[in-house]
């Protein structure tokens, strides 16, 4: 190799190394910090010499963090299931049946997915108190539909119209009803799309913060993001950073694993729906 080439390649790999460090380091640092206790936390030490698990035990002991995780799981699973059921049929109609007003309807669904959440906050607050579900998980289940339903409908519509029409034609010739076509012909082919869409919707429900901090009040009703944002220590002025990091690692590791396992799927789902970050 020519010297110029060597320098070029070296610089290129330096850039790559920098990118990797930049993207990975903050999460790595959270893991390292979560394994430090007492004064060790205040020393800059890139490899923990003496890892301790006390912070992990403490967050479950000192606050209802287990309950918070359960809340997040309950809300996210409920919201995603309802959204998928409602959007499978709707997206079949939107993708494969011609009717007047279809394009405006699709644009409407797309616009709702761009809503700033705060724009519905006071109206939603009124709805939530009128239904008597303030400070219950129901308030989150209700309000999260605005995040997940337009998204799942939009993405499933995109997936649904990619399926070959010959399949449907054969079923139509046999006199199959639309609902039968969905359940018997399309669903078996749609499982990968449903899994991807469901996972992305799950992530957005899992991460939601604005509604969660507004519609719940008591520690036991909080979801994970609110719990992590509000972890407090003995002193008002110094947050228990070791515990905050331990809680952060616990809720992030499953997500990172899911994302890594479903990497390719997620990329296709993201490009199909441009999900919110």
């Amino acid at each position: 190799m020519k010297p110029r080439r060597i320098i070029g390649t070296t610089l290129f790999y330096l850039l790559v190394a920098f990118i990797v460090v930049y993207t990975v380091f903050p999460f790595y640092w959270a893991i390292v910090s979560s394994l430090k206790e007492g004064s060790a936390l205040y020393q800059i030490e890139f490899f923990p010499k003496d890892p301790k698990w006390g912070n992990y035990a403490a967050i479950f002991r000192e606050q209802p963090f287990g309950r918070n995780i359960l809340n997040s799981v309950i809300v996210a699973v409920t919201v995603v299931s309802i959204s998928l059921v409602l959007s499978v049929t709707a997206s079949y109609a939107l993708a494969r049946i011609e009717f007047r007003g279809r394009t405006p309807l699709l644009l409407l669904v797309l616009s709702v997915s761009m809503f700033p959440q705060v724009a519905v906050l006071s109206g939603m607050f009124e709805l939530v108190s009128w239904l008597g579900i303030y400070d219950t998980l129901w308030s989150l289940t209700l309000s999260y539909m605005i995040l997940t339903l337009p998204f799942t409908t939009w993405v499933l519509t995109t997936f649904m119209r990619e399926l070959p029409k010959e399949l449907e034609e054969a079923a139509l010739v046999d006199g199959a009803k639309p609902l039968t076509i969905i359940t018997r012909v399309f669903m078996p082919l749609l499982w990968p799309a449903l899994a991807t869409t469901g996972l992305l919707a799950f992530i957005s429900a899992w991460n939601e913060f604005l509604f969660a901090i507004t519609f719940t009040l008591s520690n036991e009703r909080r979801t994970v993001p609110v719990a992590i944002a509000l972890i407090s220590g003995a002193s008002r002025f110094e947050l228990p950073w070791g515990r905050v990091m331990a809680a952060s690692v616990i809720v992030t590791v499953p997500l990172v694993l899911l994302v890594l396992i479903f990497q390719r799927r997620i990329v296709s789902g993201l490009t199909a729906g441009a999900v919110k970050g």
Partner: protein
């Protein structure tokens, strides 16, 4: 297919041969089914989006209070007038615009650099791509807390590393100092959202025809020129969609500034300001006016986004 959000699902004519047997009956049957299929979804959407939005807009013309919703009186444009006279509000608007402009620009440049790197022939591409996805997988609140700890004025790793490298001569309170707080929030957003940009750009890059590059190589055209004359124009539509989409997201930002710096006026975005008025100060009328304003801004951007996406849809495929 390039970045799909730009393209509306194409009306697809299905079942023509089959329909030919009994066209009107089957079509009518299918249209009726379409109505039943869409109705539940639209009902829920109306209940959770349409109705609350309408109420918020209505509240913005009243003096509603969180304590006794229902006993409000119509006050016309009074809330919007006081909003226009409130320097704190304009500060929030300015913060949001600064935040959106700077973070989206940085994310675009950085996303482009990383996407081009990933698209090049390098060893261990899979590992790098995986690494790049990690920030995207970290929940926003968690990334805010992670960086909050890294920014810590006494024990934070940012100060330690920068001091050692000689970038700074004394530790800074990154999130507390008025001149640095917004930049600190932007830095976290850039870290968290660049992967999204990278993925969208990478998807566009991987669809580019390789022949052009081979031809350019044969003709000995320098690579910067190839980038500006070939790559950039070809991925521009996808890039535009990604930028508009990210801008929409950045304009309604709430959790990042809220968790990093609370309601601090140095970083408060429009959404943070609106929520503070609504919930903390219980002034539903005034807060709703702020929300309505933000909604109008986003609506304008959404219309641009949809029109831009459509233009491309008509000419693109």
């Amino acid at each position: 297919m390039a970045v799909a959000p730009s393209s509306l699902p194409q009306p697809e004519v299905i079942g023509r041969p089959a329909v030919a047997l009994a066209p009107s009956l089957l079509t009518r049957q299918r249209r009726r089914a379409a109505l039943y299929f869409i109705l539940p979804m639209m009902t829920v959407l109306t209940a959770v989006a349409g109705w609350p939005l309408a109420r918020t807009i209505y509240f913005s013309f009243t003096n509603a209070n969180l304590d006794n919703l229902g006993s409000q009186e119509w006050v016309g444009f009074a809330n919007f007038v006081s909003l226009a006279q409130d320097p704190e509000w304009w500060r929030a608007v300015l913060n949001t615009v600064k935040f959106a402009a700077v973070s989206v620009s940085l994310e675009t440049v950085l996303g482009l650099v990383i996407a081009l790197t990933l698209n090049a022939n390098l060893k261990g591409r899979g590992i790098v791509r995986t690494a790049v996805l990690i920030p995207w997988a970290v929940p926003t609140v968690v990334s805010a807390q992670m960086w909050n700890w890294m920014y810590n004025d006494l024990y934070g790793v940012v100060n330690a590393v920068f001091l050692k490298l000689g970038f700074i001569d004394h530790p800074y309170a990154w999130t507390a100092s008025p001149s640095l707080a917004l930049a600190a929030v932007i830095a976290v957003d850039v870290w968290k959202t660049t992967p999204f940009m990278t993925l969208l750009i990478l998807a566009a890059l991987q669809l580019l025809p390789q022949e052009i590059y081979e031809a350019a190589k044969l003709d000995g055209i320098p690579s910067p020129k190839v980038f500006y004359k070939v790559t950039l124009p070809l991925i521009r539509p996808a890039l535009m969609v990604a930028i508009i989409f990210r801008s929409l997201d950045a304009l309604r930002i709430f959790d990042l500034p809220y968790v990093l710096t609370g309601n601090s006026r140095q970083t408060a975005s429009m959404a943070v300001y609106a929520r503070q008025q609504l919930i903390d100060f219980q002034d539903v009328g005034y807060g709703s006016a702020a929300s309505t304003f933000l909604f109008a801004v986003i609506a304008v951007f959404t219309i641009i986004y949809i029109t831009a996406g459509r233009v491309r849809f008509d000419t693109g495929r």
